[in-house]
Subunit: 106 residues, 2 copies
């Protein structure tokens, strides 16, 4: 289980993939497999959380890394890049952004 809080020492990746609804489940499975086989073993990995939109058109990964530098190091890993290429090819577009949490209530 992942936790969201401004007090956590993480950088947050929110990556929104736009997808044909017939590919939504496949894309979610590719991202889950990439997390389990590769990302979770990368230095600085904290969490990954895969979301499917109720309307079928999006898959969003809410992931936490120890730092921007750890995230960028993962991006240069050839195996991780192969997974991301596979995911990208299932989507019509994707928009990754790195964030800081400034407020959490609940």
């Amino acid at each position: 289980m992942a936790h969201i809080s401004p007090d956590q020492d993480v950088v947050t990746l929110i990556n929104v993939f736009t997808v044909d609804p017939e590919n939504q489940e496949t894309l979610a499975r590719v991202l889950i497999e990439a997390t389990e086989t590769t990302m979770s073993g990368c230095s600085g990995y904290v969490s990954a959380n895969i979301h499917k939109s109720l309307d079928g058109t999006k898959v969003t990964n809410y992931a936490q890394w120890r730092s921007r530098e750890h995230f960028e190091a993962m991006l240069s890993d050839p195996v991780a890049r192969a997974h991301m290429t596979e995911a990208g090819e299932l989507a019509s577009g994707f928009e990754p952004q790195l964030y800081e949490v400034v407020f959490s209530d609940g």
Copy 2:
């Protein structure tokens, strides 16, 4: 602190606002104030988590509601709608989506 897990009985709103970097901080404050004064009192509210992108161009709300019906009831509340209009006017665009969590690791 909010928790992410497929086992939680929630629907997740991920709303990505695109913003001029000079308005990022103001938009984040509007969303925090809306949460504290209005959303958090709505029936079915679970959590809200406001994120600022490191590049200045996005503000994203990761929010949890007990059900889609609770979220939609909030949308029809005039005070909540006024807050969302104020937030929308600070952004060049926003893309709200409702999700289910299908995988969480970390």
